[in-house]
């Protein structure tokens, strides 16, 4: 009986009696969700246009953040460093296209997936040779990212919104919006969607596949920079940051591998769901459950919708 009370009643009693904590949990879930969505977005961009499940997205986040901070350490002004980092990601995108994707064109998706593991290894090694393994502090204030918090009294306590989190939500939303517009309204965006639908079709309207690949990898690189700055500001910039990319996987599955809105909604569901789960139900299991909870949420959705919430319906023709 007691256990049933703890599962079905107690959490809701808590939500009622301490609404400030509920609001705080929802807010933190929202922030986490937006940040997950940002990582997931990097995956979706590449998957949509090239069918490559890019495992290297996580290390690209680390690489981008380290480049930014590393350049700044060498005396480059913050915004110049940011510009140079964007350039580095462009070079990386071109390099990936020339040296990795081109020789592997027309291979099955699992082979390309494997190749991105190779890329991950390469970037881990190269990144450590160039930047060393020491953690670095994100140059948040030099990039005019706010610090400190806004506190609201009330609801029987207080709700504290970190300014950096607010900034993260805004930046992530703007990026998502820009990408959505880019995909829907611009010529290149439409071309990207054409590639997603059919490589043949894209070729027939005169779009070079190589260019498309460079563009999506570059876009994913830019997303990686934003991710790196925001996550880095929340903790530190180190190679441990790549682990965080694994959080994007349940988000992707939930939202569907090919859907930008899916990545966002999936991110929010996972973010808010796991924070609520950990906060209200986690203590029953001794805590630390949010790591697999995200996957279980995703798995539950998949059983009913095997293509994710927003994924293109898998039509099996024969």
């Amino acid at each position: 009986m007691d256990i049933l009370y703890k599962i079905f009643i107690d959490p809701f009693v808590q939500m009622g009696t301490a609404p400030d904590l509920l609001v705080q949990t929802l807010w933190d879930g929202l922030v986490a969700g937006v940040l997950y969505a940002l990582i997931a977005l990097g995956f979706v961009l590449i998957f949509k246009a090239s069918g490559v499940f890019n495992f290297a997205q996580g290390i690209m986040v680390v690489f981008a953040a380290l480049t930014l901070v590393g350049l700044h350490e060498h005396g480059v002004p913050a915004f110049v460093a940011l510009g140079l980092t964007v350039l580095v990601m462009l070079v990386l995108a071109v390099g990936v296209e020339r040296l990795m994707l081109r020789p592997l064109v027309n291979q099955s998706s699992i082979i390309l997936f494997m190749a991105t593991f190779g890329l991950t290894y390469f970037l881990i090694g190269a990144g450590q040779i160039v930047f060393g393994g020491s953690p670095k502090v994100m140059i948040a204030s030099d990039l005019f990212l706010p610090s400190g918090a806004i506190e609201f009294k009330g609801l029987g306590g207080f709700v504290s919104l970190q300014k950096i989190d607010i900034a993260a939500v805004i930046i992530a939303s703007v990026m998502v919006g820009v990408l959505a517009v880019f995909f829907q309204r611009t010529r290149i965006g439409r071309a990207l969607r054409a590639v997603a639908d059919s490589h043949q079709a894209a070729l027939s309207v005169g779009i070079s596949l190589e260019q498309i690949w460079v563009i999506v990898w570059f876009a994913a690189g830019v997303v990686a920079i934003a991710t790196g700055i925001l996550w880095g500001a929340r903790s530190e910039v180190s190679f441990a940051l790549q682990i965080i990319a694994l959080k994007a996987l349940p988000v992707l599955v939930l939202g569907g591998l090919t859907s930008i809105p899916g990545a966002i909604v999936g991110g929010l569901i996972i973010g808010i769901g796991e924070k609520l789960g950990e906060f209200y139900w986690g203590p029953l299991l001794g805590g630390g459950i949010e790591n697999w909870l995200a996957y279980v949420i995703a798995l539950g959705v998949l059983v009913f919708r095997p293509q994710g919430l927003f994924g293109e319906k898998i039509i099996e023709r024969i």
């Binding site: 393994g133 020491s134 953690p135 530190e236 805590g287 630390g288």
Partner: protein, 442 residues
């Protein structure tokens, strides 16, 4: 092409260790160092690895080794990965190592059963298996100066001191924020025992490895439970994230205390001023204001023989931690040389040396490290010392040592060690009985 490659590889793998083994055994003291400067935990690994290697290299450059015999410093990169650690062990054990620093609790656990068989003493300084402090059951394992249980007990004593006595702990809530891995879970049994004895409530806040940098929900739990004190047993990127999150929920920083592995400069620096007041247990002094460390700069760093990124990293808390590991290793070898009267000592000799290790305050001074750490005195039965620990506090930019030392609560820790050691032996059926004789001096 591939076949040739494989053949070459096989040849290298088969030949290399054997060749090296014969070459190196004769003309020096072979001290392999398992270090890591790569991987997700490199942040904590780099400064310690640098201190460890630099001190031994300094002895070679300044004194020509120990007792005139050069030290062969051989680093093996583990990446904090147990698999590679075991690989390192297998590749060095044929070269007659005199002492091994595994520098990872996971690797230490692997080596504990092997050490007795291969006759190599293991120095796991302030990490590893708490129970291995029992010299009767673990003659080859040494973990001075404190176990994690001593650390947790010292933290409780510190909390009691601040609150105004152990009786004031009654009814208080104490939280443990820990890495959800054996290392992080280590203090739990002791804290549970103390909670019963002193009447405080223990709350556990586990951080899974994959969530190291994503601790928001956990700190919301902290905010709900409002513990009076929090003890932090974290590693790598978990520490700076925890400190930042603590600041975020407005947890009073002077009530947040970390174990000595949560006290790296890189742990507190990302939070900067917000971490002011955060304190960490410590077993070594901070800074480069010691003759021996100046010697390191002179003989090693300035000569470009060190891996440190810049000179100001020398003297950071974890750098000095590495130096301390090196000092204990070197002094154990020196003691072994004295005990046996030979210069070229073996692993078995150094084991005796460790059991007779005695560095007094004067001893530290003689080493050019006055006040660097408390006296270290090991014995046949006690491989740890359970010494008093220091407390350092972050002032917003650097660590400040707090006055006084904190004694662990020995009468609570020792029985627990005793029973844990016995449990270990029971679980490892066929554990060899100690046959090694005790030296008079130990």
């Amino acid at each position: 092409m591939r076949l040739k490659h494989l053949a070459l590889g096989l040849a290298v793998v088969t030949a290399a260790p054997a060749a090296a083994a014969t070459a190196q055994a004769a003309d020096g003291l072979y001290v392999p160092l398992f270090t890591y400067r790569t991987g997700p935990y490199a942040g904590s690994g780099i400064p310690v690895s640098n201190g460890l290697a630099d001190y031994l290299n300094m002895l070679n450059a300044r004194d020509g080794g120990i007792g005139g015999v050069p030290i062969i410093v051989d680093e093996c990169e583990t990446g904090y990965d147990t698999k590679k650690g075991v690989e390192c062990y297998d590749s060095v054990k044929g070269k007659n190592p005199v002492i091994i620093n595994p520098f990872s609790t996971g690797i230490t656990l692997q080596l504990i059963p092997k050490a007795a068989v291969d006759k190599v003493p293991i120095l796991s300084m302030a990490y590893g298996l708490s129970a291995s402090a029992d010299g009767n059951l673990f003659p080859w394992i040494f973990n001075p100066p404190d176990t994690y249980w001593d650390g947790a007990a010292a933290f409780i004593r510190h909390a009691a001191d601040v609150e105004g006595g152990f009786d004031k702990l009654k009814g208080k809530t104490i939280g443990l924020v820990h890495l959800d891995a054996p290392y992080g879970r280590e203090p739990i049994p002791l804290l549970q025992a103390l909670a019963k004895d002193y009447g405080f409530t223990l709350k556990l806040y586990p951080v899974p490895g994959a969530q190291m940098q994503n601790q928001t929900a956990l700190w919301l739990d902290v905010r709900r439970d409002r513990p009076d004190w929090i003890y932090l047993q974290g590693w790598g990127a978990m520490n700076p994230t925890a400190i930042k999150e603590a600041a975020k929920i407005g947890f009073p920083m002077n009530r947040l205390v970390g174990v000595w592995w949560s006290g790296s400069d890189d742990d507190a620096r990302p939070a900067g001023a917000a971490a002011k007041g955060y304190s960490s247990l410590d077993i070594n002094a901070v800074g480069s204001n010691f003759p021996a460390i100046q010697d390191i700069i002179k003989y090693v760093v300035d000569k470009g023989k060190s891996q440190v990124a810049s000179k100001d990293k020398v003297g950071e808390n974890f750098y000095d931690r590495g130096v301390m590991m090196a000092v204990l290793s070197a002094e154990a070898i020196r003691t072994a040389q004295k005990l046996t009267g030979k210069k070229q000592v073996t692993g078995e000799d150094v084991r005796r040396g460790l059991e007779s290790l005695n560095i007094t305050a004067a001893g530290w001074k003689a080493l050019g490290l006055e006040g660097f750490a408390g006296p270290i005195h090991l014995s046949c039965a006690d491989h740890n010392g359970h010494d008093a620990v220091a407390l350092v506090q972050w002032d917003g930019t650097k660590w400040e040592k707090q006055p006084g030392m904190i004694e662990p609560i020995k009468d609570k820790v020792l029985p627990l060690i005793q029973s844990a050691a016995e449990d270990y032996v029971k679980a490892n059926a066929g554990w060899p009985k100690r046959t090694e004789a005790c030296d008079k001096s130990s």
